[in-house]
Symmetry: C2
Subunit: 307 residues, 2 copies
Protein backbone atom coordinates (compact mmCIF):
# COMPACT_ATOMS: atom_id res chain seq x y z
CA UNK A 1 0.00 0.00 0.00
CA UNK A 2 1.33 3.43 -0.84
CA UNK A 3 2.69 5.14 2.24
CA UNK A 4 0.73 8.37 1.67
CA UNK A 5 -2.48 6.36 1.69
CA UNK A 6 -1.49 4.44 4.82
CA UNK A 7 -0.77 7.74 6.57
CA UNK A 8 -4.13 9.13 5.49
CA UNK A 9 -6.01 6.02 6.60
CA UNK A 10 -4.20 5.85 9.91
CA UNK A 11 -5.34 9.41 10.51
CA UNK A 12 -8.94 8.48 9.75
CA UNK A 13 -9.08 5.11 11.47
CA UNK A 14 -8.70 5.69 15.17
CA UNK A 15 -7.72 3.17 17.84
CA UNK A 16 -10.11 0.33 18.67
CA UNK A 17 -10.01 -1.80 21.84
CA UNK A 18 -9.90 -4.98 19.77
CA UNK A 19 -6.88 -3.91 17.72
CA UNK A 20 -3.46 -4.34 19.25
CA UNK A 21 -1.72 -3.54 15.98
CA UNK A 22 -3.49 -1.94 13.02
CA UNK A 23 -2.48 -0.64 9.61
CA UNK A 24 1.18 -0.41 8.65
CA UNK A 25 2.63 -3.81 9.52
CA UNK A 26 2.69 -7.14 7.71
CA UNK A 27 -0.47 -8.15 9.54
CA UNK A 28 -2.88 -6.64 12.01
CA UNK A 29 -3.10 -8.16 15.47
CA UNK A 30 -6.49 -8.58 17.13
CA UNK A 31 -7.23 -9.32 20.77
CA UNK A 32 -9.39 -12.43 20.60
CA UNK A 33 -9.16 -13.81 24.13
CA UNK A 34 -12.86 -13.13 24.75
CA UNK A 35 -13.94 -14.81 21.50
CA UNK A 36 -14.55 -18.56 21.56
CA UNK A 37 -15.94 -18.92 18.08
CA UNK A 38 -15.37 -16.52 15.25
CA UNK A 39 -17.46 -16.17 12.10
CA UNK A 40 -15.45 -15.23 9.03
CA UNK A 41 -16.96 -13.99 5.81
CA UNK A 42 -15.46 -12.61 2.62
CA UNK A 43 -17.29 -10.87 -0.18
CA UNK A 44 -15.78 -9.25 -3.24
CA UNK A 45 -17.72 -6.56 -5.08
CA UNK A 46 -16.75 -5.70 -8.61
CA UNK A 47 -17.32 -2.86 -11.03
CA UNK A 48 -19.83 -3.88 -13.68
CA UNK A 49 -21.30 -6.62 -11.51
CA UNK A 50 -22.21 -5.20 -8.10
CA UNK A 51 -22.08 -1.54 -9.05
CA UNK A 52 -21.21 0.70 -11.99
CA UNK A 53 -18.48 3.04 -10.86
CA UNK A 54 -19.20 5.28 -13.85
CA UNK A 55 -22.60 6.13 -12.38
CA UNK A 56 -22.03 5.72 -8.67
CA UNK A 57 -20.58 7.83 -5.89
CA UNK A 58 -17.58 5.76 -4.73
CA UNK A 59 -18.57 6.42 -1.11
CA UNK A 60 -21.81 4.54 -1.77
CA UNK A 61 -19.76 1.75 -3.35
CA UNK A 62 -17.55 1.52 -0.27
CA UNK A 63 -20.54 1.56 2.02
CA UNK A 64 -22.26 -1.15 0.01
CA UNK A 65 -19.21 -3.40 0.04
CA UNK A 66 -19.02 -3.23 3.81
CA UNK A 67 -22.79 -3.45 4.30
CA UNK A 68 -23.02 -6.60 2.15
CA UNK A 69 -20.38 -8.24 4.32
CA UNK A 70 -22.11 -7.08 7.51
CA UNK A 71 -25.27 -8.66 6.15
CA UNK A 72 -23.45 -12.01 6.03
CA UNK A 73 -22.49 -11.63 9.68
CA UNK A 74 -26.13 -10.76 10.39
CA UNK A 75 -27.24 -13.92 8.59
CA UNK A 76 -25.14 -15.88 11.11
CA UNK A 77 -26.49 -13.78 14.03
CA UNK A 78 -22.95 -12.82 15.01
CA UNK A 79 -21.62 -9.61 16.47
CA UNK A 80 -19.25 -7.67 14.15
CA UNK A 81 -15.69 -7.45 15.46
CA UNK A 82 -13.20 -6.46 12.80
CA UNK A 83 -12.44 -6.48 9.12
CA UNK A 84 -9.75 -6.05 6.51
CA UNK A 85 -10.15 -4.47 3.10
CA UNK A 86 -8.36 -5.34 -0.15
CA UNK A 87 -8.70 -2.95 -3.07
CA UNK A 88 -7.82 -3.32 -6.75
CA UNK A 89 -7.97 0.23 -8.03
CA UNK A 90 -7.85 1.51 -11.61
CA UNK A 91 -4.61 3.50 -11.84
CA UNK A 92 -6.04 6.91 -12.74
CA UNK A 93 -7.35 8.63 -9.63
CA UNK A 94 -6.58 5.63 -7.44
CA UNK A 95 -5.72 7.63 -4.34
CA UNK A 96 -8.91 9.72 -4.40
CA UNK A 97 -10.96 6.62 -5.13
CA UNK A 98 -9.43 4.71 -2.22
CA UNK A 99 -10.10 7.57 0.17
CA UNK A 100 -13.70 7.91 -1.06
CA UNK A 101 -14.30 4.17 -0.63
CA UNK A 102 -13.04 4.36 2.96
CA UNK A 103 -15.17 7.49 3.48
CA UNK A 104 -18.15 5.31 2.68
CA UNK A 105 -17.03 2.42 4.84
CA UNK A 106 -15.84 4.11 8.02
CA UNK A 107 -19.13 5.61 9.29
CA UNK A 108 -20.86 2.25 8.84
CA UNK A 109 -18.00 0.46 10.58
CA UNK A 110 -18.24 2.92 13.46
CA UNK A 111 -22.00 2.40 13.71
CA UNK A 112 -21.50 -1.32 14.30
CA UNK A 113 -18.36 -1.00 16.43
CA UNK A 114 -16.38 -2.76 13.72
CA UNK A 115 -12.60 -2.29 13.73
CA UNK A 116 -11.03 -1.77 10.31
CA UNK A 117 -7.82 -3.53 11.20
CA UNK A 118 -5.90 -3.65 7.97
CA UNK A 119 -5.88 -3.53 4.25
CA UNK A 120 -4.11 -4.08 1.00
CA UNK A 121 -4.40 -1.39 -1.62
CA UNK A 122 -3.23 -1.98 -5.16
CA UNK A 123 -3.52 -0.31 -8.54
CA UNK A 124 -3.81 -2.01 -11.91
CA UNK A 125 -5.14 -1.69 -15.44
CA UNK A 126 -8.36 -3.54 -14.49
CA UNK A 127 -11.61 -2.22 -13.04
CA UNK A 128 -12.34 -1.61 -9.36
CA UNK A 129 -12.69 -4.65 -7.12
CA UNK A 130 -13.35 -4.37 -3.38
CA UNK A 131 -12.79 -7.46 -1.26
CA UNK A 132 -13.72 -7.28 2.40
CA UNK A 133 -13.21 -9.96 5.03
CA UNK A 134 -15.08 -9.58 8.31
CA UNK A 135 -14.90 -11.40 11.62
CA UNK A 136 -17.83 -11.67 13.95
CA UNK A 137 -18.18 -13.09 17.43
CA UNK A 138 -20.52 -16.04 17.70
CA UNK A 139 -22.86 -15.41 20.63
CA UNK A 140 -23.74 -17.89 23.35
CA UNK A 141 -26.69 -18.91 21.15
CA UNK A 142 -24.24 -20.33 18.63
CA UNK A 143 -24.07 -19.45 14.95
CA UNK A 144 -27.28 -19.23 12.97
CA UNK A 145 -26.58 -21.49 9.99
CA UNK A 146 -28.43 -22.49 6.83
CA UNK A 147 -28.60 -26.06 8.05
CA UNK A 148 -31.19 -26.25 10.78
CA UNK A 149 -34.57 -25.64 9.09
CA UNK A 150 -37.07 -28.42 9.93
CA UNK A 151 -40.35 -29.32 8.25
CA UNK A 152 -43.08 -27.33 9.95
CA UNK A 153 -40.85 -24.35 10.72
CA UNK A 154 -42.29 -21.07 9.56
CA UNK A 155 -40.50 -18.94 6.94
CA UNK A 156 -40.11 -15.55 8.60
CA UNK A 157 -38.71 -12.56 6.74
CA UNK A 158 -37.68 -9.07 7.76
CA UNK A 159 -38.72 -6.08 5.67
CA UNK A 160 -39.90 -6.08 2.08
CA UNK A 161 -38.57 -7.28 -1.23
CA UNK A 162 -37.96 -6.26 -4.82
CA UNK A 163 -36.72 -3.32 -6.85
CA UNK A 164 -33.56 -2.73 -4.81
CA UNK A 165 -31.78 -1.62 -8.00
CA UNK A 166 -33.63 1.70 -7.68
CA UNK A 167 -31.22 2.60 -4.88
CA UNK A 168 -31.74 0.33 -1.88
CA UNK A 169 -28.99 -2.00 -3.09
CA UNK A 170 -26.58 0.77 -2.08
CA UNK A 171 -28.23 2.22 0.96
CA UNK A 172 -29.76 -0.77 2.73
CA UNK A 173 -29.17 -1.26 6.43
CA UNK A 174 -27.63 -4.65 7.19
CA UNK A 175 -29.84 -6.51 9.67
CA UNK A 176 -27.06 -6.94 12.23
CA UNK A 177 -28.93 -5.63 15.26
CA UNK A 178 -32.17 -7.29 14.18
CA UNK A 179 -30.51 -10.71 13.90
CA UNK A 180 -28.90 -10.37 17.33
CA UNK A 181 -32.20 -9.34 18.94
CA UNK A 182 -34.11 -12.19 17.31
CA UNK A 183 -31.44 -14.79 18.16
CA UNK A 184 -31.41 -13.57 21.74
CA UNK A 185 -35.19 -13.62 22.27
CA UNK A 186 -36.42 -16.47 20.09
CA UNK A 187 -35.48 -19.94 18.97
CA UNK A 188 -34.22 -19.72 15.40
CA UNK A 189 -33.43 -22.89 13.47
CA UNK A 190 -31.75 -21.42 10.40
CA UNK A 191 -31.18 -18.19 8.56
CA UNK A 192 -29.82 -16.60 5.41
CA UNK A 193 -29.66 -13.06 4.06
CA UNK A 194 -31.16 -12.26 0.68
CA UNK A 195 -28.31 -11.13 -1.51
CA UNK A 196 -29.10 -12.85 -4.80
CA UNK A 197 -32.89 -13.14 -4.65
CA UNK A 198 -35.58 -14.20 -2.18
CA UNK A 199 -36.41 -17.40 -4.06
CA UNK A 200 -32.83 -18.45 -4.88
CA UNK A 201 -31.57 -17.75 -1.36
CA UNK A 202 -34.55 -19.52 0.23
CA UNK A 203 -33.72 -22.44 -2.08
CA UNK A 204 -30.13 -22.45 -0.79
CA UNK A 205 -31.32 -22.54 2.79
CA UNK A 206 -33.61 -25.47 1.92
CA UNK A 207 -30.79 -27.31 0.19
CA UNK A 208 -28.46 -27.00 3.17
CA UNK A 209 -31.27 -28.06 5.49
CA UNK A 210 -32.33 -30.96 3.24
CA UNK A 211 -35.92 -29.83 3.10
CA UNK A 212 -38.28 -27.85 0.91
CA UNK A 213 -40.39 -24.74 1.34
CA UNK A 214 -43.98 -23.80 0.57
CA UNK A 215 -44.28 -20.09 -0.06
CA UNK A 216 -47.64 -18.37 0.18
CA UNK A 217 -46.66 -15.81 -2.38
CA UNK A 218 -49.51 -13.43 -1.60
CA UNK A 219 -47.98 -12.99 1.86
CA UNK A 220 -44.60 -11.81 0.57
CA UNK A 221 -44.07 -8.18 1.56
CA UNK A 222 -43.50 -6.38 -1.70
CA UNK A 223 -41.44 -3.21 -1.53
CA UNK A 224 -42.72 -0.01 -3.13
CA UNK A 225 -39.59 -0.14 -5.25
CA UNK A 226 -40.81 -3.41 -6.80
CA UNK A 227 -44.03 -1.73 -7.86
CA UNK A 228 -42.16 1.26 -9.23
CA UNK A 229 -39.70 -0.93 -11.09
CA UNK A 230 -42.40 -3.12 -12.65
CA UNK A 231 -44.21 0.00 -13.79
CA UNK A 232 -41.06 1.58 -15.14
CA UNK A 233 -39.90 -1.52 -17.01
CA UNK A 234 -43.36 -2.29 -18.42
CA UNK A 235 -41.97 -5.62 -19.63
CA UNK A 236 -44.71 -7.81 -18.25
CA UNK A 237 -42.84 -8.48 -15.02
CA UNK A 238 -44.95 -8.09 -11.89
CA UNK A 239 -43.98 -6.58 -8.56
CA UNK A 240 -44.10 -10.14 -7.15
CA UNK A 241 -41.62 -11.31 -9.79
CA UNK A 242 -39.25 -8.60 -8.63
CA UNK A 243 -39.77 -9.47 -4.97
CA UNK A 244 -38.94 -13.11 -5.70
CA UNK A 245 -35.92 -12.61 -7.93
CA UNK A 246 -34.32 -9.15 -7.78
CA UNK A 247 -31.99 -9.74 -4.87
CA UNK A 248 -29.84 -7.28 -2.92
CA UNK A 249 -32.68 -6.75 -0.47
CA UNK A 250 -30.31 -7.86 2.30
CA UNK A 251 -33.27 -8.87 4.42
CA UNK A 252 -33.22 -11.97 6.62
CA UNK A 253 -35.03 -15.21 5.87
CA UNK A 254 -35.42 -17.33 8.99
CA UNK A 255 -36.64 -20.81 9.88
CA UNK A 256 -38.60 -20.45 13.10
CA UNK A 257 -40.57 -23.11 15.02
CA UNK A 258 -44.34 -22.40 14.72
CA UNK A 259 -44.98 -21.33 18.32
CA UNK A 260 -41.91 -19.09 18.34
CA UNK A 261 -43.01 -17.60 15.02
CA UNK A 262 -46.45 -16.86 16.46
CA UNK A 263 -44.89 -15.13 19.45
CA UNK A 264 -42.45 -13.22 17.25
CA UNK A 265 -45.20 -12.00 14.96
CA UNK A 266 -47.40 -10.96 17.88
CA UNK A 267 -44.56 -9.12 19.60
CA UNK A 268 -43.02 -7.57 16.46
CA UNK A 269 -39.85 -6.76 18.42
CA UNK A 270 -38.09 -4.89 15.61
CA UNK A 271 -38.51 -1.52 13.95
CA UNK A 272 -38.78 -3.40 10.67
CA UNK A 273 -41.83 -5.66 10.18
CA UNK A 274 -41.55 -9.45 10.50
CA UNK A 275 -43.74 -11.53 8.21
CA UNK A 276 -44.49 -15.23 7.87
CA UNK A 277 -44.48 -16.10 4.17
CA UNK A 278 -44.87 -19.87 4.37
CA UNK A 279 -43.37 -22.96 5.91
CA UNK A 280 -40.63 -25.49 5.46
CA UNK A 281 -41.73 -28.95 4.33
CA UNK A 282 -40.33 -32.44 3.95
CA UNK A 283 -40.75 -32.48 0.20
CA UNK A 284 -37.62 -30.98 -1.40
CA UNK A 285 -37.83 -27.97 -3.67
CA UNK A 286 -39.62 -24.64 -3.62
CA UNK A 287 -43.39 -24.60 -3.90
CA UNK A 288 -45.71 -21.74 -4.58
CA UNK A 289 -48.96 -22.08 -2.69
CA UNK A 290 -52.05 -20.19 -3.78
CA UNK A 291 -55.60 -21.20 -2.85
CA UNK A 292 -54.32 -24.37 -1.24
CA UNK A 293 -52.63 -25.59 -4.45
CA UNK A 294 -48.83 -26.04 -4.53
CA UNK A 295 -46.98 -25.66 -7.83
CA UNK A 296 -43.21 -25.56 -8.33
CA UNK A 297 -41.66 -22.15 -7.67
CA UNK A 298 -38.57 -21.33 -9.71
CA UNK A 299 -35.53 -20.31 -7.67
CA UNK A 300 -34.57 -17.15 -9.47
CA UNK A 301 -31.97 -14.50 -8.78
CA UNK A 302 -28.43 -13.53 -9.50
CA UNK A 303 -25.89 -16.28 -10.11
CA UNK A 304 -22.32 -16.15 -11.34
CA UNK A 305 -22.60 -18.39 -14.36
CA UNK A 306 -19.33 -20.17 -15.00
CA UNK A 307 -18.31 -21.80 -18.23
Amino acid sequence: MESALIAELRRRIGPHPLVRLGLGDDAAVLRMAAVDECAVTVDMLMDGVDFHLRDADPRRVGRKALAANLSDLAAMATRPLAGVVALALPRAGAMDLAVALYDGMLPLAAKYGLAIAGGDTNSWDGPLAVSITLFGAVTSRGPLTRRGARPGDRIVVTGAFGGSILGRHFDFEPRVDEALILAERYTLHAGIDVSDGLSIDLGRLCQESSCGAEVEVQRIPIHDDAHRLAERLADGSTPLDHALADGEDFELVLAVPPDEADRMLAEQPLAVPLTVIGRFVDRPGLWRVEGGIAVPLAARGYEHHFT
Copy 2:
Protein backbone atom coordinates in the same frame (compact mmCIF):
# COMPACT_ATOMS: atom_id res chain seq x y z
CA MET B 1 -20.41 -18.80 -5.46
CA GLU B 2 -21.76 -21.18 -8.05
CA SER B 3 -23.12 -24.32 -6.42
CA ALA B 4 -21.19 -26.72 -8.70
CA LEU B 5 -17.95 -25.05 -7.61
CA ILE B 6 -18.90 -25.17 -3.94
CA ALA B 7 -19.62 -28.88 -4.27
CA GLU B 8 -16.27 -29.46 -5.98
CA LEU B 9 -14.37 -27.46 -3.37
CA ARG B 10 -16.14 -29.13 -0.48
CA ARG B 11 -15.01 -32.45 -1.93
CA ARG B 12 -11.39 -31.26 -2.10
CA ILE B 13 -11.24 -29.37 1.18
CA GLY B 14 -11.56 -31.89 3.97
CA PRO B 15 -12.51 -31.22 7.58
CA HIS B 16 -10.10 -29.32 9.83
CA PRO B 17 -10.15 -29.28 13.64
CA LEU B 18 -10.27 -25.49 13.65
CA VAL B 19 -13.31 -25.25 11.38
CA ARG B 20 -16.72 -25.75 12.94
CA LEU B 21 -18.48 -24.62 9.78
CA GLY B 22 -16.77 -24.35 6.40
CA LEU B 23 -17.84 -23.57 2.85
CA GLY B 24 -21.50 -23.23 1.97
CA ASP B 25 -22.93 -20.89 4.57
CA ASP B 26 -23.00 -17.11 4.89
CA ALA B 27 -19.81 -17.27 6.94
CA ALA B 28 -17.37 -19.86 8.16
CA VAL B 29 -17.12 -20.48 11.88
CA LEU B 30 -13.70 -21.02 13.46
CA ARG B 31 -12.93 -22.40 16.90
CA MET B 32 -10.75 -19.70 18.45
CA ALA B 33 -10.93 -20.47 22.16
CA ALA B 34 -7.23 -21.38 22.25
CA VAL B 35 -6.19 -18.19 20.44
CA ASP B 36 -5.57 -15.09 22.54
CA GLU B 37 -4.21 -12.89 19.82
CA CYS B 38 -4.82 -13.33 16.13
CA ALA B 39 -2.77 -11.89 13.28
CA VAL B 40 -4.82 -11.00 10.23
CA THR B 41 -3.35 -10.26 6.84
CA VAL B 42 -4.90 -9.67 3.43
CA ASP B 43 -3.10 -9.58 0.12
CA MET B 44 -4.66 -9.26 -3.32
CA LEU B 45 -2.75 -10.53 -6.34
CA MET B 46 -3.77 -9.32 -9.77
CA ASP B 47 -3.24 -10.36 -13.35
CA GLY B 48 -0.75 -8.05 -15.05
CA VAL B 49 0.76 -6.93 -11.74
CA ASP B 50 1.70 -9.98 -9.69
CA PHE B 51 1.54 -12.53 -12.48
CA HIS B 52 0.63 -12.78 -16.15
CA LEU B 53 -2.09 -15.37 -16.46
CA ARG B 54 -1.41 -15.59 -20.20
CA ASP B 55 2.02 -17.11 -19.48
CA ALA B 56 1.47 -18.81 -16.14
CA ASP B 57 0.05 -22.09 -14.94
CA PRO B 58 -2.92 -21.01 -12.81
CA ARG B 59 -1.88 -23.55 -10.17
CA ARG B 60 1.34 -21.60 -9.70
CA VAL B 61 -0.72 -18.41 -9.49
CA GLY B 62 -2.90 -19.92 -6.76
CA ARG B 63 0.13 -21.19 -4.89
CA LYS B 64 1.84 -17.81 -5.11
CA ALA B 65 -1.22 -15.96 -3.82
CA LEU B 66 -1.35 -18.17 -0.76
CA ALA B 67 2.43 -18.23 -0.27
CA ALA B 68 2.64 -14.42 -0.35
CA ASN B 69 0.03 -14.26 2.40
CA LEU B 70 1.78 -16.95 4.41
CA SER B 71 4.94 -14.87 4.10
CA ASP B 72 3.13 -12.02 5.85
CA LEU B 73 2.21 -14.34 8.72
CA ALA B 74 5.86 -15.43 8.79
CA ALA B 75 6.96 -11.80 9.00
CA MET B 76 4.91 -11.56 12.20
CA ALA B 77 6.30 -14.90 13.47
CA THR B 78 2.76 -16.25 13.81
CA ARG B 79 1.43 -19.75 13.29
CA PRO B 80 -0.98 -20.11 10.31
CA LEU B 81 -4.52 -21.02 11.34
CA ALA B 82 -7.05 -20.40 8.60
CA GLY B 83 -7.86 -18.38 5.55
CA VAL B 84 -10.58 -17.31 3.15
CA VAL B 85 -10.22 -16.77 -0.58
CA ALA B 86 -12.05 -14.27 -2.80
CA LEU B 87 -11.75 -14.66 -6.56
CA ALA B 88 -12.68 -12.34 -9.42
CA LEU B 89 -12.55 -14.62 -12.45
CA PRO B 90 -12.73 -13.74 -16.13
CA ARG B 91 -15.97 -15.29 -17.40
CA ALA B 92 -14.56 -17.63 -20.01
CA GLY B 93 -13.21 -20.77 -18.38
CA ALA B 94 -13.96 -19.45 -14.90
CA MET B 95 -14.79 -22.84 -13.38
CA ASP B 96 -11.60 -24.54 -14.60
CA LEU B 97 -9.56 -21.54 -13.55
CA ALA B 98 -11.05 -21.54 -10.06
CA VAL B 99 -10.36 -25.24 -9.62
CA ALA B 100 -6.77 -24.83 -10.87
CA LEU B 101 -6.16 -21.94 -8.47
CA TYR B 102 -7.37 -24.08 -5.57
CA ASP B 103 -5.24 -26.96 -6.87
CA GLY B 104 -2.26 -24.69 -6.39
CA MET B 105 -3.35 -23.48 -2.98
CA LEU B 106 -4.50 -26.61 -1.23
CA PRO B 107 -1.20 -28.55 -1.01
CA LEU B 108 0.53 -25.48 0.42
CA ALA B 109 -2.31 -24.96 2.89
CA ALA B 110 -2.04 -28.59 3.97
CA LYS B 111 1.74 -28.27 4.41
CA TYR B 112 1.25 -25.49 6.95
CA GLY B 113 -1.86 -26.95 8.58
CA LEU B 114 -3.88 -23.99 7.30
CA ALA B 115 -7.65 -24.40 7.08
CA ILE B 116 -9.26 -22.97 3.96
CA ALA B 117 -12.46 -21.99 5.71
CA GLY B 118 -14.42 -20.13 3.10
CA GLY B 119 -14.47 -18.19 -0.07
CA ASP B 120 -16.28 -15.96 -2.48
CA THR B 121 -16.04 -16.79 -6.15
CA ASN B 122 -17.25 -14.35 -8.77
CA SER B 123 -17.00 -13.90 -12.51
CA TRP B 124 -16.76 -10.63 -14.40
CA ASP B 125 -15.47 -8.95 -17.54
CA GLY B 126 -12.24 -7.92 -15.79
CA PRO B 127 -8.96 -9.81 -15.33
CA LEU B 128 -8.21 -12.33 -12.59
CA ALA B 129 -7.81 -11.02 -9.05
CA VAL B 130 -7.12 -13.30 -6.09
CA SER B 131 -7.63 -11.88 -2.61
CA ILE B 132 -6.66 -14.03 0.34
CA THR B 133 -7.13 -13.23 4.00
CA LEU B 134 -5.21 -15.32 6.53
CA PHE B 135 -5.36 -15.63 10.30
CA GLY B 136 -2.39 -16.65 12.36
CA ALA B 137 -1.99 -17.37 16.05
CA VAL B 138 0.35 -15.03 17.85
CA THR B 139 2.73 -17.16 19.93
CA SER B 140 3.67 -16.58 23.56
CA ARG B 141 6.60 -14.51 22.25
CA GLY B 142 4.11 -11.95 20.95
CA PRO B 143 3.90 -10.68 17.38
CA LEU B 144 7.07 -9.76 15.56
CA THR B 145 6.34 -6.26 14.33
CA ARG B 146 8.14 -3.67 12.21
CA ARG B 147 8.35 -1.35 15.18
CA GLY B 148 10.97 -2.68 17.54
CA ALA B 149 14.33 -2.25 15.76
CA ARG B 150 16.85 -0.37 17.92
CA PRO B 151 20.10 1.31 16.99
CA GLY B 152 22.84 -1.27 17.31
CA ASP B 153 20.62 -4.20 16.32
CA ARG B 154 22.02 -6.29 13.53
CA ILE B 155 20.21 -6.64 10.21
CA VAL B 156 19.83 -10.39 9.75
CA VAL B 157 18.37 -11.87 6.56
CA THR B 158 17.37 -15.36 5.51
CA GLY B 159 18.38 -16.71 2.12
CA ALA B 160 19.52 -14.73 -0.90
CA PHE B 161 18.13 -11.91 -2.99
CA GLY B 162 17.45 -10.80 -6.55
CA GLY B 163 16.19 -12.17 -9.83
CA SER B 164 13.06 -13.79 -8.42
CA ILE B 165 11.25 -12.97 -11.68
CA LEU B 166 13.10 -15.91 -13.25
CA GLY B 167 10.71 -18.22 -11.36
CA ARG B 168 11.26 -17.97 -7.61
CA HIS B 169 8.51 -15.36 -7.32
CA PHE B 170 6.11 -18.25 -7.97
CA ASP B 171 7.80 -21.12 -6.24
CA PHE B 172 9.37 -19.60 -3.13
CA GLU B 173 8.82 -21.20 0.23
CA PRO B 174 7.31 -18.79 2.75
CA ARG B 175 9.55 -18.58 5.83
CA VAL B 176 6.81 -19.63 8.21
CA ASP B 177 8.71 -22.38 10.03
CA GLU B 178 11.93 -20.39 9.98
CA ALA B 179 10.27 -17.40 11.63
CA LEU B 180 8.71 -19.55 14.34
CA ILE B 181 12.03 -21.27 15.09
CA LEU B 182 13.92 -17.99 15.26
CA ALA B 183 11.29 -16.30 17.42
CA GLU B 184 11.30 -19.28 19.76
CA ARG B 185 15.08 -19.49 20.17
CA TYR B 186 16.30 -15.92 19.90
CA THR B 187 15.35 -12.42 20.88
CA LEU B 188 14.04 -10.66 17.79
CA HIS B 189 13.24 -6.95 17.92
CA ALA B 190 11.52 -6.50 14.58
CA GLY B 191 10.90 -8.21 11.26
CA ILE B 192 9.51 -7.82 7.76
CA ASP B 193 9.31 -10.04 4.71
CA VAL B 194 10.76 -8.85 1.42
CA SER B 195 7.88 -8.60 -0.98
CA ASP B 196 8.62 -5.34 -2.81
CA GLY B 197 12.43 -5.18 -2.55
CA LEU B 198 15.14 -5.63 0.05
CA SER B 199 15.97 -1.93 0.22
CA ILE B 200 12.38 -0.62 0.15
CA ASP B 201 11.17 -3.14 2.74
CA LEU B 202 14.17 -2.51 5.00
CA GLY B 203 13.31 1.18 4.67
CA ARG B 204 9.75 0.46 5.79
CA LEU B 205 10.98 -1.41 8.83
CA CYS B 206 13.27 1.53 9.67
CA GLN B 207 10.44 4.01 9.26
CA GLU B 208 8.15 2.09 11.61
CA SER B 209 11.01 1.73 14.11
CA SER B 210 12.03 5.40 13.81
CA CYS B 211 15.63 4.55 13.04
CA GLY B 212 17.94 4.10 10.08
CA ALA B 213 20.05 1.28 8.71
CA GLU B 214 23.60 0.93 7.51
CA VAL B 215 23.89 -1.83 4.94
CA GLU B 216 27.25 -3.39 4.14
CA VAL B 217 26.22 -4.13 0.61
CA GLN B 218 29.08 -6.54 -0.09
CA ARG B 219 27.60 -8.81 2.59
CA ILE B 220 24.19 -9.09 0.91
CA PRO B 221 23.67 -12.69 -0.24
CA ILE B 222 23.05 -12.40 -3.95
CA HIS B 223 20.99 -15.15 -5.50
CA ASP B 224 22.25 -16.93 -8.62
CA ASP B 225 19.07 -15.69 -10.29
CA ALA B 226 20.28 -12.10 -9.80
CA HIS B 227 23.48 -12.92 -11.66
CA ARG B 228 21.57 -14.66 -14.40
CA LEU B 229 19.09 -11.83 -14.73
CA ALA B 230 21.78 -9.12 -14.88
CA GLU B 231 23.56 -11.09 -17.57
CA ARG B 232 20.40 -11.70 -19.53
CA LEU B 233 19.21 -8.10 -19.37
CA ALA B 234 22.66 -6.66 -20.16
CA ASP B 235 21.26 -3.22 -19.37
CA GLY B 236 24.03 -2.12 -17.03
CA SER B 237 22.19 -3.34 -13.92
CA THR B 238 24.36 -5.35 -11.55
CA PRO B 239 23.43 -8.47 -9.57
CA LEU B 240 23.58 -6.27 -6.45
CA ASP B 241 21.08 -3.85 -7.98
CA HIS B 242 18.72 -6.77 -8.46
CA ALA B 243 19.29 -8.03 -4.94
CA LEU B 244 18.47 -4.61 -3.55
CA ALA B 245 15.41 -3.81 -5.66
CA ASP B 246 13.80 -6.79 -7.39
CA GLY B 247 11.50 -7.91 -4.60
CA GLU B 248 9.38 -11.03 -4.29
CA ASP B 249 12.26 -12.82 -2.58
CA PHE B 250 9.93 -13.41 0.37
CA GLU B 251 12.91 -13.72 2.67
CA LEU B 252 12.89 -12.33 6.21
CA VAL B 253 14.71 -9.19 7.33
CA LEU B 254 15.14 -9.14 11.10
CA ALA B 255 16.38 -6.71 13.72
CA VAL B 256 18.40 -8.77 16.22
CA PRO B 257 20.39 -7.58 19.25
CA PRO B 258 24.15 -7.97 18.57
CA ASP B 259 24.83 -10.85 20.96
CA GLU B 260 21.77 -12.74 19.79
CA ALA B 261 22.80 -12.17 16.18
CA ASP B 262 26.28 -13.56 16.95
CA ARG B 263 24.75 -16.65 18.51
CA MET B 264 22.28 -17.06 15.65
CA LEU B 265 25.00 -16.80 13.03
CA ALA B 266 27.24 -19.26 14.88
CA GLU B 267 24.40 -21.76 15.34
CA GLN B 268 22.82 -21.35 11.88
CA PRO B 269 19.68 -23.11 13.13
CA LEU B 270 17.88 -23.15 9.77
CA ALA B 271 18.27 -25.06 6.52
CA VAL B 272 18.48 -21.68 4.82
CA PRO B 273 21.53 -19.50 5.63
CA LEU B 274 21.27 -16.53 7.97
CA THR B 275 23.45 -13.52 7.16
CA VAL B 276 24.18 -10.23 8.90
CA ILE B 277 24.14 -7.48 6.28
CA GLY B 278 24.53 -4.43 8.51
CA ARG B 279 23.06 -2.71 11.51
CA PHE B 280 20.35 -0.35 12.56
CA VAL B 281 21.42 3.17 13.48
CA ASP B 282 20.03 6.30 15.10
CA ARG B 283 20.41 8.37 11.97
CA PRO B 284 17.25 7.99 9.86
CA GLY B 285 17.41 6.70 6.32
CA LEU B 286 19.20 3.91 4.52
CA TRP B 287 22.97 4.03 4.22
CA ARG B 288 25.27 2.03 2.04
CA VAL B 289 28.55 1.30 3.76
CA GLU B 290 31.62 0.34 1.77
CA GLY B 291 35.16 0.71 3.06
CA GLY B 292 33.93 2.47 6.18
CA ILE B 293 32.20 5.22 4.18
CA ALA B 294 28.42 5.63 4.39
CA VAL B 295 26.53 7.12 1.46
CA PRO B 296 22.74 7.27 1.03
CA LEU B 297 21.18 4.07 -0.27
CA ALA B 298 18.07 4.48 -2.39
CA ALA B 299 15.06 2.48 -1.20
CA ARG B 300 14.08 0.83 -4.43
CA GLY B 301 11.48 -1.78 -5.26
CA TYR B 302 7.90 -2.20 -6.33
CA GLU B 303 5.38 0.42 -5.31
CA HIS B 304 1.81 0.98 -6.36
CA HIS B 305 2.04 4.52 -7.65
CA PHE B 306 -1.22 6.33 -7.18
CA THR B 307 -2.23 9.48 -8.97
